[in-house]
Every structure is written in structure tokens, then in C-alpha cells.
């Protein structure tokens, strides 16, 4: 599902000095894996996620995600890739405030080929995450956990085979977080590949494999039980 080779990402600081956030990261994730990525704040976890999801194209190295080689993709092709190949879930949900829950879930349909049953599909997804009765609510009238479920439903709309999550429980209390973690587990069990950046112990506990990002390098913290490919270096 994911093949990253020697990925290097440098940011230029305000004072002009180059900061090498990712310093030769290589990563292989097989189809159907649940991988947790941990690391201290500022270690480059979000950066890695954005590179894998095609939101950031300024890097060195090679990235192949879901069978698509990202380097060289144009603006349109990259947008299409984000629309159909990956689903993002963020720490602060990032729902559009003046759209109802179901309209938020429908947002991806505006940028891709909309299936004729788009709305029914969005409603089914909300049902799936347990929000069938609150589909017409505005985000402000939903709890944090409910908002994150809407965001997950939105990430699933384009039928991606890979979910990229950036601390999805970071803004939730423990009880609500447990529900969301359970949802990810369920999705994983149904065959979805999940790559989750997290600080949450319980999240890494359910992951098949835990990787730690440190000093710009990825190191295996806990190897998976059923790692199919060669794994990380």
C-alpha cells in the first residue's frame, strides 16, 4: 500500500537556515495493515502524513501510495489521487462550519465524479459511524466525538483503501476517544489500511505495528505480527 524510499524533507526556517525534518525515511506498509506512528512533538509526523497523502509535493526520495507514484503527478492528478485513494482524518476535525453533517460528508463529491447516489451514500456512511439521526445538524451542534465521526465518514466517502489519521483522538476525552478507536479497529477489520499518527497508548495498542519518528528517522518500536513485506530499515 505504501512504499517510501529515502524521503527527505527540509523546511527553510524564518532566519533562512534549513531544517531537515525527515532525513531519509523509508517505509513499507502492506495492504490491510494498521500502523501507528509515534514521536515527540515536532518530530515530523504530520509532515510525513502530508507527504504520503499528496498534500505536500516538495520532498526528495520516492513515494508510492496505493499503486500510484506521486512524483511527477500534476495538480489535477494529485487532486484526483487525494479524492479517491486516501482519506484524511485530522486532530481538529476540520469540518466546514456552515455545512450540515451530511453536506460535510458530501464535500469530496464536489471535486470528483459524483456517484448518482451520493447523498444516499453519505447518509449511509453517517449511519455507519452512528450518526444516522444527526445527519442534518451543523457541526457546532455536535459533540467532539460526533464531529470526528463525521470527519471519518467524509474520509470514507471516496472509497479510499488507505486512511491517514493525524492524532484523531487528540482533541477527545478518554471515553469518546475509545469509541473512535473502536471505529478505526472496525474499519481496519473490514480491510482498510490505516496509518495513524498518535500519542494515545490505546491507539498504538490496537495497531499491528508501531513506528517511532526520531531525529528524522523512522525506527520500528514494535514489529507487527504479520508483516508481509520487508518492513522498514
Amino acid at each position: 500500500m505504501i512504499q517510501a524510499r529515502d524521503v527527505v524533507k527540509t523546511y527553510v526556517d524564518g532566519d533562512g537556515t534549513q531544517v531537515r525534518v525527515l532525513d531519509g525515511v523509508s517505509l513499507d506498509v502492506a495492504e490491510g495493515e494498521f500502523v501507528a506512528v509515534v514521536g515527540s512533538s515536532g518530530s515530523g509526523k504530520s509532515t510525513l502524513l502530508h507527504l504520503l497523502g499528496g498534500l505536500d509535493v516538495d520532498y526528495r526520495g520516492d513515494l508510492r501510495v496505493g499503486g500510484v507514484t506521486l512524483r511527477g503527478l500534476g495538480d489535477k492528478a494529485l487532486a484526483r489521487f487525494r479524492n479517491t485513494h486516501v482519506g484524511f482524518v485530522f486532530q481538529s476535525f476540520h469540518l466546514i462550519p456552515n455545512l450540515s453533517a451530511v453536506e460535510n460528508v458530501l464535500l469530496p463529491s464536489h471535486f470528483g465524479a459524483a456517484p448518482p447516489d451520493a447523498r444516499a451514500r453519505a447518509e449511509a456512511l453517517l449511519e455507519r459511524v452512528g450518526l444516522g439521526t444527526k445527519k442534518d445538524r451543523a457541526p457546532v451542534r455536535l459533540s467532539g466525538g460526533e464531529r470526528q465521526r463525521v470527519a471519518i465518514a467524509r474520509a470514507l466517502f471516496g472509497k479510499p483503501r488507505l486512511l491517514l489519521c493525524d492524532e484523531p483522538t487528540g482533541n477527545l476525552d478518554a471515553a469518546t476517544g475509545t469509541g473512535v478507536i473502536a471505529l478505526f479497529q472496525e474499519l481496519h477489520r473490514e480491510g482498510l489500511t490505516v496509518l495513524c499518527v498518535t500519542h494515545e497508548e490505546r491507539m498504538s495498542a490496537v495497531a499491528g505495528r508501531v513506528l517511532r519518528l526520531k531525529d528524522g528517522q523512522l525506527v520500528e518500536e514494535r514489529a507487527g505480527l504479520q508483516v508481509a513485506t520487508g518492513g522498514s530499515t
Partner: protein
């Protein structure tokens, strides 16, 4: 990006930025409204000048003998019968109408009841003989031809003279308003070979006569009377002055496009063109066009300000929506999509402003016309409408609104498209 999706997203952001969108639209409406109003006014006043004050028929060419007759040395330069035939035979000429001045001075003395008011006056009159066919449409009484010695001479008056009389002379002298219809049949004495102006004093005996108004015409002499050509010939002959050479010939071109060719041919014959009327029309037209252009420029400046205003408002809106734009990019929006959304928002604002401004200008012009009709005193050539709005002006107003808004959205849309989603979505 599909159009329905674009429409939904545009509606979404406009609904949120309702106030900003309204003010942006309002700015566009001001600029477009002012422009449409002034252009409509310029076109309207220009039309009055062209059609009422100096009605020039684009197909007519007035040929006159040269003022300084160099041509006569070369054997040309006079308008005798063979010359008229040559003029008539020029390519592009459909008809040629001869004209001859009565070449002796004439006065009219009126002492009697003039439409209910007692009037005593005397004045010099000029008389011009023209071929009946030139003015046939304007003759309302009898045939326009000389009835012979001792009979009243049919006379046409100028419609413009009538307008000037009605709007300035009549009110000042408390004389009645006249229409062409009322004047038809009115007879007055004309004494030929007599003048009140000492220098023009004629020799020989004068000859009293009678003239009868038979209609009013655009083509009639402004300060004088227009009579049948054969009457002028007869009078000139009777007074022993030149009755062979014509004072002018009006050529009718088969088509306005033929006029320059005809003019060149006429000049080649050593004759001149009397284009005084046309020049006056052109000069006043140019003055109106210049004023209109200045006001239009001012209006365009307002449009420019509106565009700058839109640029400002959209920039702020794009900055405020950076995170939202990032989310859209994360779920599949390309940079082109983001750009299209911002441009489409501006397009809606511009079209709404353009349409509102144009409508406001049209309504304002109706109001101005009504006020002018009600409160402005009557003056010569006062039109029913001071405005003219051909469809390109109306459509152009709306399009200008669109263009101004899109111009204003150019940079904000580029900035929106350049949003770095990784930066706005982190954390």
C-alpha cells in the same frame, strides 16, 4: 469541477460573506450605473442633435458653385443645365435636384390678424426655388408648382424655424404656438425687388406678390421661404437677372457609401460641396462625445475602484478561509478548482452589481425624463427623452460589472489556489 458543484460551493461562501458580497456588488453597481447613465445620455443628446437640430440625410450631397470661381477660367465652375446633366450622370447618383435663389431682394410686410393676435411686422425674406420632387413628401396643400404671374406662390417653411418660433419667439411676444398644419393655407404678401437694407437696395421697380404656406420641411431654407423652382426662374427672368445658372444642386446618392466617391467627382468638376450643416452636426456631436467620454472615463474609474474593493474583500475572505480551502484540497480539490470557486464568487458579485447598476441607470433616466418634462421650461428641440440605450450599452453594462469583478478577483484567486494545505491543516 462540475458546474452544479461549483454553484453549490459559491452559494455557500456568498451566503456566509453576505455583507461583504453586498458592498462589493454595490461598488460595481455604482460604476456600471454611472457609465450606462452617462453613455445613454451622450447617445440620446447626440441623437437629438443629429435627428432634430441638424437633420442631415446621409445620402444627400449639396453641390454649389465655387465661391472664388477659379473654375470658370478652366471652363467649369458654374451650375448651368449641361453641368447639372453631368452631375446627374455621375456614378452612384440616383437623382439630382436643382435649386435657384430668387436673385433680387424681397420683403414681407404683414399688417393684420395673425391667429387671433394683431400683428404688424416687416422683414427681409430670402426665397429659394427647388424642384418639387425634393420636397414632395412635405407639401400638404395643392401641387408644388408655379401658378404664374399674379397667382399666390406656394411656399414651404423650415420645420426648424417653426420650432425656434414656437419655443423662443412666440412665448416672448405672446404670440400663439403654431403647427405646420395650422400654417397651411396662410397667405402673406411678398414684395420682390425691394429691401429694407440700404446696401442691398434694388434698382428698378418692385413687384408685389402673394405667398401661401403649403407645408413645412426639413429641407426648406431656415431663414426664408422655399418655393417651386419654376417660380424662382420666372421671377429672376422678370427682373432681368441670371435665370440660367443654378444656385445649387442636391444630389441623392444610391447609398451613403457612395457619397465620398460623388464628393470627389464633384470637386474634380471644379464645384464645391456645401457641408456647413453636416459640419455643425459633426462639431456639436463631437462636443457631446467629448463630454460623454470624460464622464464615461470617470465612471470607469469608479469601476476600477470597485475592482480594487473586490480585490480587498476577497483577499480578506480568502485569508479567513485558508483552513477551509485546505480541507477542500485534502478531499480532492485541485488548485484550479480553488481558483474557479473564488473567480465564480466574484463573477456572481460582478453580474449582480452590473445588472443592478444598469437597471438603476435605466430607472434614473426615466426619472430624469419625467422631471425634464414636468419642470424644465420648453426650449427649442427639447426632446421627449434625453437618453438612448441601444442593447449593446445595456449588455455592456452587465459585462463590465463581470469584467471588473473578475479583474479584482485575479490576485485573490491566485493566492487562494496557492494555499499550502499542509500548513493550514497541521495541528
Amino acid at each position: 469541477m462540475r458546474l452544479d458543484a461549483l454553484a453549490r460551493l459559491v452559494r455557500l461562501s456568498l451566503a456566509r460573506e453576505r455583507k461583504g458580497a453586498f458592498f462589493s456588488s454595490f461598488g460595481v453597481a455604482m460604476g456600471v450605473g454611472a457609465l450606462v447613465f452617462f453613455v445613454g445620455l451622450g447617445l440620446g443628446v447626440g441623437a437629438v442633435i443629429r435627428e432634430k437640430i441638424f437633420p442631415t440625410d446621409a445620402r444627400l450631397v449639396d453641390v454649389v458653385p465655387p465661391a472664388v470661381s477659379l473654375g470658370s477660367l478652366l471652363g467649369g465652375g458654374t451650375l448651368d443645365a449641361p453641368t447639372v446633366e453631368r452631375l446627374r450622370a455621375l456614378p452612384g447618383v440616383e437623382a439630382a435636384y436643382r435649386k435657384m435663389n430668387v436673385r433680387v431682394p424681397a420683403v414681407t410686410r404683414y399688417d393684420g390678424v395673425f391667429f387671433g393676435t394683431r400683428l404688424r411686422m416687416g422683414m427681409e425674406v430670402l426665397a429659394l426655388g427647388v424642384e418639387p420632387a425634393l420636397v414632395r413628401g412635405d407639401v400638404q396643400l395643392g401641387e408644388f408648382q408655379d401658378a404664374g404671374e399674379g397667382q399666390p406662390i406656394p411656399a414651404l417653411v423650415s420645420t426648424r424655424l417653426l420650432e425656434l418660433y414656437n419655443k423662443t419667439f412666440a412665448p416672448a411676444r405672446k404670440l400663439p404656438q403654431l403647427s405646420a398644419n395650422m400654417l397651411v393655407g396662410f397667405g402673406f404678401p411678398v414684395e420682390f425687388n425691394r429691401s429694407y437694407v440700404a446696401a442691398a437696395s434694388a434698382s428698378g421697380p418692385s413687384r408685389p406678390g402673394q405667398a401661401q404656406v403649403v407645408g413645412a420641411s426639413d429641407r426648406a431654407l431656415l431663414a426664408g421661404i422655399t418655393i417651386p423652382l419654376d417660380a424662382a426662374v420666372r421671377l429672376n427672368r422678370a427682373f432681368g437677372v441670371d435665370a440660367e445658372n443654378y444656385s445649387g444642386v442636391t444630389l441623392v446618392a444610391t447609398d451613403p457609401s457612395q457619397v465620398p466617391v460623388i464628393v470627389a467627382a464633384v470637386k474634380g468638376m471644379g464645384l464645391e460641396i456645401d457641408d456647413q450643416e453636416r459640419r455643425m452636426a459633426e462639431n456639436s456631436g463631437a462636443a457631446v462625445a467629448l463630454t460623454t467620454s470624460a464622464l464615461a472615463l470617470l465612471s470607469l474609474l469608479i469601476c476600477l475602484l470597485a475592482a480594487v474593493n473586490i480585490a480587498h474583500a476577497l483577499s480578506a475572505s480568502v485569508r479567513a478561509r485558508a483552513r477551509e480551502i485546505g480541507v477542500m484540497q485534502a478531499v480532492g480539490a485541485s488548485r484550479a478548482d480553488i481558483r474557479a470557486i473564488v473567480l465564480a464568487e466574484a463573477a456572481v458579485v460582478g453580474l449582480a452589481g452590473g445588472a443592478a447598476g444598469t437597471t438603476a441607470a435605466l430607472l434614473l433616466s426615466l426619472g430624469v425624463n419625467r422631471l425634464a418634462a414636468g419642470y424644465l421650461p420648453d426650449f427649442p428641440f427639447k426632446p421627449d427623452s434625453f437618453f438612448s440605450f441601444p442593447w449593446p450599452v445595456v449588455v455592456g453594462g452587465v459585462v463590465l460589472g463581470l469584467v471588473a469583478a473578475l479583474a479584482g478577483a485575479y490576485f485573490p484567486s491566485r493566492r487562494a489556489a496557492a494555499t499550502d494545505p499542509a500548513r493550514t491543516l497541521a495541528g
